[in-house]
């Protein structure tokens, strides 16, 4: 009997990509795509679409009766505005997960639960260790997406205790970028100028969308161990560097004014306050556990992932050719000036 997989949050870019990849796998017999939204690109024919909210009884029925063996929970969102406000976002994230897990508790064939979480659970403060490992005690973010993600992870862990026969894998993904990703951070880099916190230059990690799909696919189909794993591209990129690669002018904002500006900018990019702190202090997660236990090494480094995003999605204000030409011209000018001085000043 083939694998029967249920994917939540299936209509968003990551979910849609995963569903497409799952359908192509020979060992997968059934894919149930759960999302009340319409996907940007329609699902393949073989996919059974369930256009309901996570809190719907239809979902409970399907999880119980369709013989689902794997549940990939991608339905936790970081975009308050898209979710209809912060309260509604929390409702969806936390209560939706509770409902899903309650249904999953009664699914007799369930063997695996994959939760897409985020490195935002580590928060972002000045007193953070430089590199987070999964087991490090971290101050719980008290607001927003980070808090939701922590609560969702807690529910997943308590589910694991109640259903020891189900392997629970939590993937804490770094910020995703790529040609098709649309999230608050990609929208931030698409602004005409990138607001930064004056005098701060955080370290960021990126995960390419291909790698996101790959790690999810591998955890769903491969021999996934229980546990929590950070997933991010190798290396780090500084925000200043990212802005330069994006070819945008930075717009440094003094700290006291940051929240006000964030509110204004927040309307277009759907930024929450903890993402502002992220852009002040940054965050880097250690990925060796994913490498060693999950056997997953991202194909794209953080820098490559961001460069790919910038190359496909952004129009640079300053190109490499321009800089190279300027460099050559300035040097030529200097050399000619030096030659003239050397000729005219007798030794």
């Amino acid at each position: 009997m083939g694998r029967r997989v249920l994917v939540t949050g299936a209509a968003r870019s990551t979910g849609r990509r995963l569903v497409g990849a799952l359908v192509e796998q020979p060992e997968v017999e059934l894919v149930v795509a759960v999302d009340e939204q319409e996907p940007a690109e329609p699902f393949p024919d073989k996919v059974e679409r369930l256009a309901v909210d996570l809190r719907s009884p239809a979902l409970v029925r399907t999880v119980r009766s369709a013989g689902i063996d794997t549940c990939a929970h991608l339905g936790v969102t970081a975009e308050p505005r898209a979710a209809g406000g912060r309260v509604s976002m929390k409702e969806r994230n936390v209560l939706g997960t509770m409902q899903l897990l309650a249904a999953a508790y009664h699914a007799p064939d369930l063997r695996r639960l994959v939760l897409k979480s985020t490195t935002a659970v580590y928060g972002a403060t000045a007193a953070d260790p430089a590199v987070w490992t999964e087991g490090m005690p971290h101050e719980t973010p008290r607001h927003g997406f980070g808090k939701d993600a922590i609560e969702v992870e807690d529910y997943a862990r308590s589910f694991e205790r109640r259903r020891p026969d189900v392997a629970v894998t939590v993937l804490r993904l770094a910020n995703q970028v790529g040609p098709n990703v649309d999230n608050p951070l990609t929208r931030y880099f698409e602004l005409p100028a990138c607001p930064t916190v004056l005098g701060f230059d955080p370290r960021l990690q990126f995960l390419h969308e291909e790698d996101t799909a790959e790690v999810l696919l591998r955890t769903i189909l491969g021999p996934a161990p229980d546990g929590t794993f950070n997933v991010a591209g190798d290396g780090v990129v500084l925000l200043s560097q990212a802005i330069r690669i994006a070819g945008k002018p930075p717009l440094p904002i003094p700290e006291p004014l940051v929240n006000r500006v964030a509110e204004l900018v927040g309307r277009t990019v759907d930024f929450s306050p903890e993402q502002v702190r992220f852009l002040q202090y940054g965050r880097v997660a250690d990925t060796s556990a994913a490498r060693e236990q999950l056997g997953f090494t991202p194909k794209w480094s953080s820098l490559q992932a961001f460069e790919d995003f910038a190359a496909t999605r952004l129009r640079k204000l300053v190109t490499e050719e321009q800089v190279a030409r300027l460099e050559r011209d300035a040097l030529g000018l200097l050399r000619r000036a030096a030659e003239r001085i050397a000729r005219e000043v007798p030794r």
Partner: protein, 376 residues
């Protein structure tokens, strides 16, 4: 723990090795991209044996002979960029201007890299390109001419692999740490980068926070220190912390309590040798006569110094006094043979902490007695 990363195999434009971390193919992201794009930069890549039979790569493709008043180049000739200002025939001897021009070239290349974001930092944010071209050149005049720093015992710092450099801390602002780092970068035969553990205050301050990270420093916490040592880095720690930096002038050269000795525990866990370093001269740069505790509390600083020139002379008071410095690295205290279990024994930790502290204190006293005067 990820193993220390391979460096890129390509050569940067000046012929130095590229310092960026390499991917699986032995190249960093930037050079890989350059190779893929086939950028006609004169960027000879060293890896890979030359293809047999293939002609040696020619560094400069000679362009068509430059003719006065000749129109555009032949249509089939590829655009070869040999700027006309590089025609070697009538190039006069630039004499003393040659180094100036070389310097300008390097500076322009650096600016180009910065504008395009073409550099890599490690996971702690260490930016060797910035250190080499901006931060170190800013500090060098202080090191060479203002404080005329003299170093001894550099041979006690290993050429490679992990070690924990532990020093005394004084002088209101942590210039002593910066000078020790510069001594290791400039004068140590292996030009080692000292990765210092700094107080969390530094990482919350605008401007200071990113500079501290880019210079290779990180937060003074066990996780970061362990990670750096396991990656084979040279780690610097100043266990006196603010107690040392912000002590009054009358207590100069008296080492304060060494924290809780956490640095010894980390050295034992990772088996890294401890290299005590004694700095003489740093106490006199800002002689602290009084500490305005109330002002400090108001501003959120650990102390607020009153020196003969600060705050009386305003910004001028920020100019440090030109004392003569001596930095002495002491013989390393080996910890690997004690085994990592020793880290569990508080007695061993206390003993080792005291041993390190005494070594530094004795060396400071000895060098103080030997020095001719504060301003040497």
């Amino acid at each position: 723990m990820t193993p220390p990363r391979e460096r890129c195999q390509a050569r940067a434009r000046k012929g130095d090795r590229c310092r960026n971390p390499a991917g699986p193919d032995g190249l960093c992201a930037l050079h890989r991209r350059q190779l893929e794009r086939g950028t006609p930069e004169p960027d000879p890549l060293i890896p890979g044996p030359p293809t047999p039979g293939a002609p040696e790569p020619q560094p400069v493709i000679p362009g068509p002979p430059y003719r006065e008043g000749s129109p555009a180049a032949e249509p089939e000739a590829p655009v070869v960029h040999t700027p006309p200002d590089e025609t070697p025939r009538d190039e006069p001897d630039l004499g003393p201007l040659e180094p100036v021009l070389a310097w300008a070239e390097e500076a322009l290349e650096f600016l180009g890299r910065r504008v395009l974001g073409e550099y890599e930092v490690d996971e702690f944010g260490h930016d060797p390109d910035l250190v080499e071209h901006v931060l170190a050149p800013l500090l060098r005049p202080l090191y060479r001419h203002w404080w005329r720093v003299e170093t001894r015992g550099l041979e006690h710092v290993p050429d490679g692999g992990p070690a924990l450099v532990v020093g005394n801390h004084a002088g209101t602002l942590p210039f002593d740490a910066l000078m020790v780092a510069l001594a290791l970068l400039d004068e140590h035969p292996a030009h080692r980068s000292l990765r210092m553990l700094a107080a969390d205050l530094a990482f919350g301050l605008p401007v200071v926070a990113p500079l501290a990270r880019k210079a290779g420093n990180t937060l003074a916490c066990a996780e970061d220190a362990t990670r750096l040592l396991e990656a084979g880095e040279l780690v610097g720690v100043w266990p006196e912390g603010y107690k040392g930096l912000g002590k009054p002038y009358r207590e100069r050269y008296q080492l304060q309590r060494f924290g809780r000795g956490g640095f010894v525990e980390i050295a034992l866990r990772t088996g890294a040798p401890i290299v005590p370093v004694a700095v003489v001269g740093s106490e006199e740069i800002y002689p602290m006569l009084a500490n305005l505790r109330r002002v400090a509390r108001l501003l959120g600083f650990p102390y607020f110094p009153v020196t003969p020139t600060f705050p009386a002379l305003g910004p001028l008071g920020a100019i440090p006094l030109p004392s003569k410095w001596l930095i002495e690295f002491c013989p390393p205290i080996e910890t690997a043979s004690l085994g990592s279990e020793a880290a569990m024994d508080p007695m061993t930790l206390f003993d080792l902490t005291d041993q390190v502290r005494d070594t530094i204190q004795q060396t400071v006293y000895r060098n103080l007695l030997a020095r001719r005067g504060v301003f040497g």
